[in-house]
Structure formats: C-alpha cells, structure tokens
C-alpha cells in the first residue's frame, strides 16, 4: 500500500515525517526550512486558533497587528534579547529588484539598499514595546492586553515539519501592567489557559512549571511553561508565558504615572503557542496506522462510508444517511459523507484511519434492512454494529469517550515513564530509556549545563504542583529545594 507508514518501533522520527506527509498535514516547500501547511493540517490549526482565541477574549484580551519587520537596532536595546533572538534570522537589506543586464530574470538593485536593515520578526517584544511607548502615559492606560496572530521567522539550521521550521505561525500575547503583581498574575493566568487548552482540547496532558535560568526566554525574569511527553519518551515544550519584569519598558523607555502621581516603568508579560502544537498533537496520540485526532479538534468528527454494489443501493443508503446527518449536526457533531464513486470502501477506510477521523460509520445493504450501522472507533480500532435508533446520542457519547480515552491513555503513558532518580549514575542509565526523570538539582546553571553536556538532558521545568520535599543534588550533593523534571526534548 502506497500510504503505509514506517512503524514507530523501527524509526520514530521517520514515522513522524511519513505521517505528516501522508496524512496531508504539511510538506516541505521550495524555500529551505519553510513548510506548506496543507488544507487538512490547516483545518486542525484553525480549530486550535478558534478555541484559543475564544479563551483569550474570555480573559479580557483583544487582537491587534504589528509590523512584520523590526529595525535591526531595536534588538540591541535589550541585552539578553539580542543574544537570544537577533542571530539566526532573515535580514531584509534591499527593497527593489531590477531586470538583469543580461536580460535573464531579475537581480537585486544595488541602489535600493536600506539605510538600516530590517529583521523579519522572530518574536515581537521590541516592535510592540516601541509602539506601547506611545500608548501609555498614565495608569489609566493600563493594562494593555493585546494578542497577535502572526507568522514569525527563525533561521533554524535543522528543521522538521511543525516542530522546528524557519517560518511558523503562532500567537503572541503582549501585556502591559501597572504593577509587578498584576503582571505575574497575568503570566500565570495564561499558563493556566494553555494548560487547560492542551488538556481539554488537544487531550495532551501537560506539566506546569517554571524554566530554569538556562532555559528562560531571552529577556524574561521568569518563564512559565507547559511540558508534554511524546510517545518516544522525549519532552516537548508546548507553550510558554513570560514575566518580563520592566526589561522591555526600560529598553524602550515606557513609563507611566501611577495613582499617586509617581513615574515608574511599566511591567510586562508575553506568551505564545505555535504550530509546534501540531507536532505535540500528532506525537501524543497517533499510531502505526496513522493520526489519532481528539474529537474536540478533528476537522470532521465522523465520516460516513457507504458500502454498495450498484447505484440503486447507493441511492437507498444515501437517503438513509441524509436522515442521519441533520441529527448529528443538531448535536454539533461535524460529519462528512464520502460518496465519492472513484474510490473503494477499503481505500476510504485506510484513508480516514490515516487521517485520524475519530468515528467512522459504514452502511451497507444489510444495515439498511436491519436499521443498523457499523461504528468504528479510531482510537481503539474497534467496531460494533449499532441501531440507528438514537444513533446521534450514541455518537455524541462516543466522541466524549474517545476524547477522555486518548487523554487517559496519554496520562497513563506519562505516568509509566515518570520516575524519581536519586543518583547521577542511575540518571545516566535511565535517561537513555526516555521519559520524565524527577531529580534533585542544586539550582545552579553550571550543574544543569554539565548534565546537558554529558547526557543531552535538560531541565524541562521546575514543577509548580506536586512534591516539594527538599533533598540533595544528584550531581553535587548540594541542597535542592525540590525535585525538577529532566528529559531529552524536542
């Protein structure tokens, strides 16, 4: 079969690539490192966007749009930020092409050189805070709670579809506050929003935590994050929310007059999730047969495939299906009836399995006679024959079941590969097996760096919830405030 996937056990990375391509989610483009997000993949991303956007608005945020380009000098204004972001990026140096003197194609017009180069935004703190300077004078202008849906570019050397691409799509929230406490509360609130979205919609369990200094966002005082675990035992950072302190306000001289008529710098947060979430979604649930999509994000939740020998049978089945569809839609179940005559049922079964459609209904002549339909679940690959009487309620419950089941399965997997490790010797053995390792660490960047160099593992986060018992660092024996999570990561 043309669409067969490399099994996970054989080559996980190849399985992932096969799946992204064969399920029509995305593909590489003619531009190095940039992907094309295909309609089926984009439809999932749109569902993610819609839900996140709703959650952002519910928590008081509004959308706005800031320029794609950032003057080069802006990056130099925040010392840590320039180190983190103004390196591997796309640089616009000219603004005009002209016909080539040899008559073949076009060349860059050397006379159209920009006085100052423009950087295609890798993230927008600098351009946004240069804008906020004009929006903020008084505490009455605060808070500003803006979000932007945008494309960003980071010139990554090694790229992988969705997980690491030169251009990717994301949202970036940028908020401005009158007090430190309010900014920290905002950063934590958005962490909760992300965790809630990941678990309830993506069915991806996540651990909420803060990053160690080494892994912190360039320019942040604190980076909150949600960390997910993929089926190969590697971690994936699924979203971050940064408390930026007054760093960007100072860099762009953004001050305000408070209620007591005192001038102060404004407090900031930023937070984002990206098309990388698509990678997390795929790698958490899918299997060797293809995608497994959570019903809450599936472009269509149910596909109906008619099984027929002749046109007469197809017509009879279609008539029955056209009675069922409005009932399903009435319960807000999205459904596709695939009556395409150029493909056989077997081909369709494989195709929708590959594409992760949560529920497949198959209806043949005998079903018509019996008033039944065959219902197949994508998550368990099980089938049963069900009466058409009240089928919509049955399907509605089934979708809820599937959503819960794949979430629980992911939780179970994570639990099975999360363990405490107490010595560095043990750590070196265990890290090879993957999963989350809960270890004591002395809190220094040096120790973290040593562990990373020797084992390729990083601190994914210092968990906010759970065991807070102190101990001693597995490497140095120095005091440790609590166990942190180590893993190898995407």
């Amino acid at each position: 079969m043309a669409k067969e996937l490399t099994p996970r056990s054989e080559n996980y990375s190849q399985w992932y690539n096969d799946l992204v391509i064969k399920a029509d989610l995305a593909e590489n483009s003619a531009v190095r490192g940039c992907m094309v997000i295909k309609p089926y993949g984009y439809a999932i991303w749109e569902k993610m966007q819609a839900e996140l956007d709703r959650m952002f608005k519910e928590t008081g945020h509004v959308n706005a749009y800031f320029p794609l380009f950032i003057p080069k000098s802006f990056f130099s204004k925040e010392a840590d930020h320039v180190e983190g972001f103004a390196k591997e990026c796309a640089v616009v140096t000219h603004y005009r092409l002209k016909n080539s003197p040899d008559g073949k194609g076009v060349v860059v017009d050397p006379e159209a050189k920009l006085e100052e180069e423009l950087i295609v935004r890798p993230t927008s703190e600098t351009i946004i805070w240069s804008t906020y300077k004009n929006w903020i004078q008084s505490y009455r202008d605060l808070p500003i709670l803006c979000n932007q849906w945008a494309n960003v570019v980071r010139w990554e050397m090694r790229t992988r579809l969705f997980l690491r691409t030169a251009e990717f799509l994301w949202q970036e929230g940028h908020t401005a506050h009158a007090t430190e406490a309010e900014a920290i509360a905002e950063a934590k609130q958005m962490l909760e929003v992300y965790a809630d979205f990941a678990e309830r919609f993506m069915a991806v369990p996540v651990i909420k935590g803060v990053k160690s200094a080494n892994e912190r966002f360039a320019g942040a005082l604190e980076t909150f994050c949600i960390e997910a675990l993929m089926q190969d035992g590697k971690a994936l950072q699924a979203g971050t929310s940064h408390f930026l302190g007054q760093n960007f306000a100072k860099a762009f001289d953004v001050t305000f007059v408070d209620k007591n008529n005192k001038q102060d710098y404004v407090w900031a947060t930023s937070w984002g999730v990206s098309t990388r979430l698509m990678g997390a979604l795929i790698m958490t649930h899918s299997d060797d047969h293809g995608l497994v999509l959570p019903p809450n994000l599936a472009p269509f939740q149910v596909v109906i495939v008619p099984i027929y020998k002749n046109e007469e049978q197809l017509n009879a089945i279609s008539a029955k299906v056209n009675e069922i569809i409005p009932k399903l839609k009435g319960l807000e179940i999205s459904v596709k009836f695939d009556n395409n005559d150029t493909k056989k049922p077997g081909w369709k079964f494989a195709e929708y399995e590959l594409k992760g459609v949560p529920v497949r209904l198959a209806m043949g002549a005998r079903d018509l006679e019996n008033g039944t339909v065959e219902v197949a679940r994508r998550d368990t690959l099980t089938k049963e024959t069900v009466s058409l009487e009240g089928i919509e309620i049955y399907i509605k419950r089934l979708l809820t079941d599937i959503q819960a089941n794949i979430f629980n399965k992911a939780i179970d997997y994570r639990t099975s590969v999360t363990r405490e490790v107490n010595s560095y010797e043990e750590f070196k053995v265990e890290i090879e097996k993957g999963g989350f390792l809960l270890c004591h660490w002395d809190g220094t960047p040096e120790t973290e760096e040593k562990i990373k160099e020797e084992t390729k593992a990083t601190i994914r986060c210092i968990p906010l919830d759970g065991d807070k018992t102190p101990g001693v660092c597995m490497v140095t024996g120095k005091p440790s405030a609590q166990r942190v999570i180590f893993a190898r990561a995407y």
Copy 2:
C-alpha cells in the same frame, strides 16, 4: 476638544488620516510604510474576516498556508508577473546577524549570505503554483480550491494607512481547474461573493466589471473587480478576481491527465481582498464627527452610557442595564456598558460618536423613573426617548434600519455623481468634479493611456451589468462596444 477632526470640506485627505488615528483604528509604525492595526481597527477587520471566511467555505473553499518567502527566480518564470510584482519588494539577502566588532549592537554577518535571494511575498501565485505541481497529476486531483489569510509586502513609495501600506493583510484564493469554463465560472463566482459581502456587510455599493488590459493583474487573462466610490468622488478598487488562464501552469509546468487520458495544462484563478477594505469602509460612511460603522461589522453595535450624580444612582441604573443586556444579547446584538467612572458622559458621547458605534443608549435617573432610555443613532445623529418595554426588538429593528440607511445613502451619493459624458472636452471639465463618468472608449490601451496622462483618470471597469449600447469613443471617434467607467482612483 483634543479629538476634533479636520472637516472633510477643508481637507478630505487630512480628515481621513485624523479619523484613522483618532478613532484608534491604526497608526504608522517605526518601520517605514508599515502600520500598526490597533485593537479597535483589528476588531472590525476580524468581523470582515469571519464573514468572508464563512462565505469562502460555503462556496467549497478550504484554507491553507504557503511560505512567506519566494525564491527570486520564481518571479522570472511568468513574464508579465515579473514586470508587475518583482520590482518594489522586500529582499532577504542574509540569514544571520553577529555582534558588531566595535561592541555596539549587531551587524549583518557577511558570511551568511543566501545563495539565492528570497522575496517577501507581494502575492503568492508563484510559490503556490510551484507547490500545486506536486499536488496535481490527474483530473481527479481537481479542482483545488485553496484560500490563504496572510500578510504581504509591496514596497510602496507613498503610503497611507489601510489604503496603501508596505505590509498589508489580505486573503488570496488560488484555485486550479480542469477546464477553462470552470475557471472562469470560479473567478465570476468569487466576484459575486465579494460584491455580496461589500454590499450586505460593509454597506458599500459596488459596480461589478472587468478591468481594461492596462489595469489587469500582471499575469491574468481577465481581471474582474468591484469598484466603490468614496465621498470625495474618487473610486476605490475594493476586490479583484482573476482568471489566469494557463499562464502559471505553463510557468511552473503543472499539467494533468484528463478523463480522456489527454495531458493538458491546468487552468487557474486567484482572488483577493485586503485591509484596504478598511479604507473603503471608513471613506464611504464616515462624517466630520467620526466613523460611521455598519451594524453588521461594528465591534459592538450598542453602547450604554449611564448618567448619574452619585453612586446610588449608578447602582440603580446598572441594575436596570443588567436586565437589558441579556435581552439584547439574546437577539445577537453586541453591547458594551461603559460604566467607567473616570470619564464624564459628554466625553463618552463624543468618543463613541468618533468610533462610529451604531446605537448609543443613555440612561439617567429620570429614565429609571419613567421606564425609558434615550436612543441615539450614529448615522443620522438623531435621538429619541423610548420605552424599555420591548427595547431589544426596537434596537434590533433600528440596527437593520441603520444598515439599510447607510447603504442607501451611499447608493444615492453614487447615483448623484455618476453621469454620462460624451465628449472629451466635457470629460476634462467633469473629471475635476469627481464621480463616475460613463463614457465610450475605443478599447485601445493607447487611448486609455492618453486619457490617464492628460486627466489622471483611469478606466475603473467595463461594467458587467447595465447599458450595453454601442457608440463612438469620446477621444478618437472610433467604435465603442459599450460605455465604461472612468474616474480618478485611490
């Protein structure tokens, strides 16, 4: 008053700029020619997007995403297209910055020069058709009906907020078809979608037509367009839909095998509308007091302002308002209750007038006693006192009225400045007065060019509907198939 606008009669262009800035729609950014779309402006754009997206999906289209960057060589592949688009554009030449040797800031790393320059997309036909080549083998793969919501960059020398900016937001549909007839039908269908959207949602009357060869999209065989007329008598092209023939298929070698097993090039369309529509919306309806928004696109349709002398009164009014709000929302009316205590009612009245909120409700102590509310219409600036009994139904009807009224007002204005002109002498006089001039033209680019040079007027379109009586060209006396529309344009 700080927020007063320059009157239209004094300086229309300044009025427009004042309005965009003071109504918090958009502003210029630190990057030449790039705008910041502020939350209030973006909320209108989001409403436009939501409706257009719904209409695209209803007509069978799906969204996808293609790269921001286009290899320079791609532009040379379609001869007309390179002339039209690969000139004033943002050119990425490098992919890395490094710390400046003098320790101050960052500089472009000369070693990180791209082998081939990348162009920030001014439009995506080339990158998309290079992708479609891999998607299309057989007639079974057709049609492809993709749309993309994206940012594009055209390095305009003179920019104006929304109307002409270096970066702008838009959607671009790109479809691929097996037959010429199907592609033409698609291009025409999208023209109808655009016209329907402009008239029913923006309340902007448009004329549907085709462009003359001079004004055609670079690479198209036929450009369909909708043309609107602004209050200063200048035309604004509000949307275009192109029949591209087989030009891009030939440029990127995209062929398919048809039902008879014959190989042929694929037929194409593309169509787009942009944030320019915001300019059309503003300039069609607004007045010297500020924006006038059609209820179908207003971020909120109703604002409620309490008039109170003390907290007790405010509490009583708020209690009543909180009874009204759910009733309005129940009829899908969006509403904002502005109980901000730091602003006076007079300030709020002026602010919401400036922001074009269709209906303002003001409620004071006497209204409470009488069970009434003061209802003010933004479009007519009239007020009346209305009973709270059934207020939601009253408001619902009022919003429908306002939507119809501003559309009819725009139609009336257009009718009043649309006239037939039969001699070039008369034309030169009339064009100074603005409006649409219906004239006979001999169909040649030379005559159109001469008229443009001498009068700055262009053919806005050859109308699809209306009078098709032949005549003689007002300039050359040669035969003319029908009157065409001349105007000066944005």
